[in-house]
Symmetry: none
Subunit: 357 residues, 2 copies
DNA sequence: GTAAAATATTTGTCCGTATAAATCAACTAT
DNA sequence: ATAGTTGATTTATACGGACAAATATTTTAC
C-alpha cells in the first residue's frame, strides 16, 4: 500500500507534468489541497516539501506555492556528454595533434572533451582519474603515465571498469590492464631506422632516449636489437638515457663530451624530432657539420621537420590520424561495439640530415 | 534568530564532522535527542531528515540512525568543478602552451578543463558555447574566433552573462563585449620589429600576415604604421595577406614570385615563427641566403626557434605565462574578485636570421 | 543450546492544534 | 492619487499524541 503523502505527491506531480499547472502558475493553497485530498495539513506539507526538493515547485511564505521551471532543469542533467582525455603533457609536441584528431570526431558526435594532464606523474594521474570519475565522463582516452613502470593506480582503474566506463589507451599501453590501445610499433620502427643508418655505412651510432615512457624504452630496445643483429660492431654502440625530469643542459653536456672525442659516433638517432633539432644545434657549436660529419635522425615527423636546414630524417608518426582513429574507436566503445587495438608501422622519411656523400 | 531544528541540525552535524560520531556509528535515538536538546520529536525528525538528505546520516526503521559515509560523498558533490576553455585551434602552435599554463593553475584549485575547438568558425563557436553552458561550467576562458569580424553569437554570450558565468578572453578580445582579456600588444610589437629592420638599413620589407584573427590584423597594422612614420620609403612596402583556410602552397607561390624579382624585398616579417621557418625554406629554394640576402623575422618565440639554423629573430610571446595569468584571473573571477585586463609588451629577441654584415 | 514467540525499542506515518512570519488586499488618512 | 495601516491569507515552525512497521531484545518452550 502506498502512503498518503506519496499519493498526494504523485497527484500533484502528474498535474504539473500534464500541464494542468503550468510553469509559474500559482498552485492551490495547503488548505485547498487538504480538502481536495481529504488529508491533514502535515500530509500535504510532506508531499509538497518533497516536490520542492525535486525542483518541481517553489514556495514563498505568505505568498503561495508555484510551479518551478522543472523542464529546463531536466535538460541540463541529460546534456553532459563528455569524454575524458588524460595526457602526460598537453602542450608537448605531438599530443596537441592527437587531441585535435580526437576532437574532430567526438565533437561531431555531440561530445565534449574534458582534458587533464599528469605531467608524467602517477600521483597526478590518480587525481585526474578520480576527477574524471566524479565528473561522470562517458568514456576515457588515456595516454599512459610512466608506462614503463608498474602502475600504482590499479584500484582506480578497477573502479572505472566496474562503473562500465570504457577506456582506450593511446601512444602506449599498460601491460597489466587489457584496455584496447592505439600505438605505433616503436621497437620495429627504430630497428628499421638504425638498419638504414648501417646501410649508410655508419657503424658507431649514438642513441639518445627518454626512458620514462614506454615509447622511449621501445625505441631504445629497437636500437639495441639492431646492434645485436650485427654482433661484429655491437661494441661500437653508445646509448644515452635520460628522464623527462632531467635538466636538458646536462644531457647536452654529455653529448658534447661524447662528440668531442676523436672517434666520435658518426650518427645520432634521437628519441624524437624536437630533441634532434636541439642536438643538431649542439653539434654545430662543436664545429661539426650535419650531415657531412654527423648524421642525425629524429622520430615522429614533427610538422616543421621538413622545413628546417637540414631537413630531418625521421619516422612518420600518424599523430592526427591516431587521434581520429582514437575518436572513432571510443565512440564505438560507447555504443558497446567491439574494437581491436591498432598498431601503426611508421614510414621512414629520409631527408637531408642523414645524407652521406 | 535561528530556528530550533536548525540548531539541532547544526549540533549533530558538528559532532559528525568533529568525529564524535564516526562513520558507521549508531547515533542516539530520537528520544535521546529530544531530552538532549529539550525539543519535541517533530523538531528532531526535521533536523535528522535534512541531514539524511545531505547524506550525513541514514536511517533504518526500527534499527536506528547511523552516520553515513559523508566524507567520500562530499568529494563527489564538490568535484565537478569545471572551467570551459574554447580555442580556435587546440593543436596550433602556441595555444597548447597556454592551455598548459591554465591547467597548472586551475587543477591546483581543483578544477578540470573542458576544452573545445572552433576551427576559427563562428558556427562551431556557437556549438561550443552552448555545450559549455549545458555542461554547467563555472567559468570560461575563450580565445575569440575571427575576432576581426562582427560576432553573430552575442545572444549566447548574453545568456552566459545572465547565468552569472564569468568569461575571460585570451590572445585577443571582442570589441563589443566588455569581458576582461589577456593579450599581447601586437600592434606596438610589430612596429618595434619593423623599426629594428629599418635600423638594419632594410627599406623594402615584405609583411606576410594571416588576417582572420585580430592578432594578425594588429600585426599587419603595426607593419603599416611603421611605414607611415617613414613616408619617404613607404612606397617600398609590400604586404601579403592570407586566411587560415587558404592553401599554403599558393601563398608560397606568391612569395616565390615576389622574391624572384630583381629588386626583391631585403627582409620579410612574418605572421609567426612557424610561417617564418617555412618561408626561409622557400627562400633557400630560390638560391637566396638567410640572412645574407634576405633577413627573416618571426613572431611568438616558438620553442625551437633558437635551435634552428639560422636562429630566428622574433618577438617573445609569453605563452605559458599567459596561461598561468589566465588561470589565476579566472579563479579570482569565480571568487567574485575584480580582475583587470593585462596587455603584455613582447620582448624583441634578435638572433641570426636578421644579422646583416 | 536452539528455535520460536513475546515484548520492547525505534523509526515511519498521520492527525490536530497553536503561534510566527511573510505576503496580499482592502481600507484609511493625507 | 498615494502612502501608510490594518486585517486576512498563506506558508513556516513547533508541540503533543496516536498508531504502524521494522528491528532488537528477552523470554519461553523444546
Amino acid at each position: 500500500m502506498e502512503t498518503k503523502y506519496e499519493t498526494v505527491k504523485k497527484g500533484i506531480k502528474a498535474d504539473i507534468i500534464a500541464g494542468t499547472y503550468q510553469t509559474g502558475d500559482k498552485l492551490p493553497t495547503e488548505s485547498d489541497f487538504m480538502h481536495q485530498f481529504g488529508v491533514s495539513r502535515y500530509t500535504i506539507r510532506r508531499a509538497v516539501g518533497e516536490l520542492q526538493n525535486e525542483r518541481f515547485i517553489y514556495r514563498i511564505q505568505g505568498g503561495g506555492m508555484f510551479v518551478d521551471d522543472w523542464q529546463s532543469e531536466r535538460v541540463v542533467q541529460v546534456n553532459n556528454k563528455m569524454i575524458g582525455v588524460i595526457t602526460t603533457h598537453i602542450a608537448d609536441y605531438i599530443f596537441p595533434n592527437i587531441i585535435n584528431g580526437i576532437d574532430r570526431i567526438v565533437s561531431d558526435n555531440g561530445y565534449s572533451i574534458l582534458i587533464s594532464n599528469t605531467h608524467n606523474n602517477h600521483q597526478k594521474e590518480r587525481q585526474s582519474l578520480i576527477r574524471m570519475l566524479d565528473s561522470d565522463v562517458e568514456a576515457m582516452i588515456i595516454e599512459p603515465t610512466q608506462s614503463a613502470l608498474p602502475n600504482p593506480n590499479l584500484d582506480i582503474y578497477k573502479k572505472i571498469r566496474e562503473a562500465g566506463i570504457p577506456i582506450l589507451c593511446v601512444n602506449s599501453h599498460y601491460d597489466d590492464l587489457d584496455f584496447p590501445y592505439i600505438e605505433t610499433n616503436d621497437l620495429e620502427a627504430e630497428q628499421r631506422l638504425v638498419e638504414y643508418l648501417f646501410t649508410q655505412e655508419h657503424e658507431k651510432v649514438l642513441g639518445v632516449f627518454q626512458v620514462d615512457d614506454s615509447q622511449g624504452v621501445h625505441r631504445m630496445n629497437g636500437f639495441v636489437q639492431s646492434y645485436l643483429k650485427h654482433p661484429k660492431i655491437s661494441y661500437l654502440s653508445e646509448i644515452l638515457m635520460y628522464q623527462s625530469s632531467d635538466e636538458m643542459a646536462k644531457i647536452f653536456e654529455r653529448i658534447t663530451s661524447i662528440m668531442s672525442k676523436e672517434d666520435h659516433p658518426t650518427a645520432i638517432t634521437c628519441y624524437n624530432d624536437k630533441l634532434a633539432i636541439q642536438i643538431i644545434d649542439v653539434i654545430r657549436s662543436l664545429d661539426l657539420r650535419v650531415p657531412e660529419d654527423v648524421s642525425v635522425a629524429g622520430f615522429d615527423d614533427y610538422q616543421l621537420s621538413e622545413y628546417i636546414d637540414p631537413s630531418l630524417t625521421t619516422m612518420a608518426h600518424p599523430k592526427e590520424k591516431m587521434g581520429i582513429d582514437a575518436g572513432n574507436a571510443i565512440i564505438k566503445m560507447i555504443n558497446k561495439e567491439n574494437v581491436s587495438s591498432i598498431t601503426y608501422d611508421p614510414e621512414m622519411i629520409i631527408r637531408n640530415s642523414t645524407k652521406r656523400n
